[in-house]
Symmetry: C2
Subunit: 352 residues, 2 copies
């Protein structure tokens, strides 16, 4: 468990990492810099504060801890946290009772949006942090039906149904008005063409067909393809991220400044940056931990993301996790994120 794998510095001795682990655990609990006396008691090694001080000085040299000022204790640095979560952390799985309780929340639901909503709510509710869930990708969803309805003028309402009852709709502005019967024909044509295929396929064929067979085709059908293409576009880029429990973050004093909170909440509304970060976790295996300070986005300084992808039949559908202060209880949070992802995946699988 206690690895000797240093992050970027020289090797950290067995004893030193044990000290670091204890220090960080204590700091996570207390939020106060940890002094030598305290740490000496906590390690269980029966050493004097002076000895501990020597080790701490070493850790400081390696950039793993630092002290806010001369006469305060030590606080972990980002590098220290990194080492901690990568090789020092002992995660005990959630006990069966809690898992069952979580599972029970998912059980009665079976439409995707309710499931995702529940996942996010549970994440934020149980961890008392902000929960984020990236919506499942629809590549694997099966195409069910497309319906085109005439609105006033040249507007057409396109409704696309996929998977287990996902409905996407969009109003399109066409070059000329279509008669209702034209649109019925076009709907039928498209539905027939694509029914039962998965959306990844549909998307691909749509692109192919648009380029190759444009000429030899009924003008109406060509336009139908174009319309379908446009619906797909919007179906893909819809609200792809669900955030909940943002307000939980207001309680942490490391995030207590207004500018910081404002920026953070704007990032939650904007979603783009956070989505980008989550995207990078897509291909990872298991729970990943991102430190905001490492991410390049200043908004996330002092914040961490604990994320994990969720997958059905081996294929990654999305990512979920929590956002909280870097000083969070990883030991507790990690298994919760992990289990939630599994439960969401299971519920989605059952659903399709």
């Amino acid at each position: 468990m206690a690895g000797t794998r240093g992050s970027s510095e020289a090797k950290v001795s067995e004893r030193a990492s044990h000290f670091l682990k204890t220090l960080i655990e204590h700091y996570i609990r207390d939020g106060q810099p940890v002094g030598s006396r305290t740490l000496a008691k906590e390690t269980g090694l029966d050493l004097s504060p002076a000895t501990v001080r020597n080790v701490m000085a070493d850790l400081e040299d390696m950039g793993l801890v630092s002290s806010p000022h001369t006469s305060a204790g030590r606080v972990p640095t980002l590098l220290g946290y990194r080492l901690f979560v990568d090789s020092l952390l002992t995660v005990k799985p959630l006990n069966e009772i809690d898992v069952a309780a979580l599972r029970a929340e998912f059980e009665p639901l079976d439409d995707t949006s309710a499931l995702v909503d529940t996942a996010s709510r549970l994440l934020s509710g149980v961890t008392r942090l902000a929960g984020v869930v990236m919506l499942p990708r629809h590549e694997r969803d099966v195409f069910r039906q497309i319906e085109l309805l005439p609105l006033s003028g040249k507007k057409v309402l396109a409704i696309l149904v996929t998977g287990e009852g996902e409905v996407h709709n969009r109003i399109l502005y066409t070059e000329r008005p279509f008669s209702p019967s034209d649109l019925v024909r076009a709907s039928n044509y498209l539905t027939e063409l694509f029914t039962g295929q998965d959306m990844g396929n549909v998307r691909k064929r749509l692109l192919d067909d648009l380029h190759s067979t444009h000429q030899q085709m009924d003008a109406l059908m060509a336009q139908a393809l174009e319309i379908a293409q446009r619906v797909m576009e919007s179906a893909e880029h819809k609200d792809q991220l669900l955030v909940s429990g943002q307000t939980n973050l207001m309680q942490f004093d490391e995030l207590a400044s207004m500018e910081r909170l404002k920026a953070l909440f704007e990032a939650f509304t904007e979603k783009r940056e956070i989505l980008y970060l989550l995207d990078r976790c897509m291909q990872a295996d298991g729970v990943q931990i991102f430190f905001g300070g490492e991410s390049g986005y200043a908004v996330l300084d002092d914040c961490s993301l604990v994320t994990t992808p969720y997958r059905v039949e081996g294929e990654v559908l999305g990512v979920l996790g929590v956002i909280g202060p870097t000083r969070m209880d990883y030991q507790r949070v990690i298994p919760i994120v992990d289990v939630t992802a599994r439960l969401l995946a299971a519920a989605l699988r059952q659903n399709n």
Copy 2:
């Protein structure tokens, strides 16, 4: 302009209200308690601070101002604000250029959700407060189509299209599985039955039919009615409120405490309480001002709502406005809310 209509106290002399007006205007600008010296200069009446002090003492007796402590200036009370906004405030309409700029934002749009979104965004963007828009009611929307699709097991996906391309969908759990052709028949039956009617009517007829003709009807159609009924239910109570620019509220120091902000933001996510307050503005005429302190909801202490209904052809569709600190620039905010409501209404009218 300067009325003598007291709110609940004795008459306020012409001069006293002028003082009150000046005081509140100054306080709104500065945020600092206003002292006699300052106010003496500001009124333009060439009176000494001592005189002003006498008047201020009167105002204090009437409960219109108060001082935070002995040696601070005066601050308006809620009662003072009330009198101010009800009869002292001079609102100059927005100049044509600004109105045109706002109108230009609405012009290119024509689906309801984009319009509402823009309204909210403009409100918060221009006022630098939080913008709220209650979604337009659908009573007047015309029924277009209902579509029922079989999903796996006993689930049925119901899609309801109304008005200019509003799509509501819901997954329903039925007692028995339906064949696709059953559902097509049911869809056609319902669509035929209701097409072209407005939703208020549809809702009413649905209720009538459910009770009266249940017996004499094809079992399938009876069930179709029931399904339709359930779709209507959910179509009505969807997300009825759009809030934007919440983060703007973080800048005001009267709201700077974390518990307060947390409660406020939770109210924005919860939406229920705010919707209830907005509901009460539905029937009002023109711009209304609510003080949070008067509302009974502690979350809104120190906050004000400036709201106005928006209507198409005389019928109220919804309410919009802003939420900000009680100490806000009403003179500026009121015309913005007013104009936004008109513009949204105009855009919606054009749209239907």
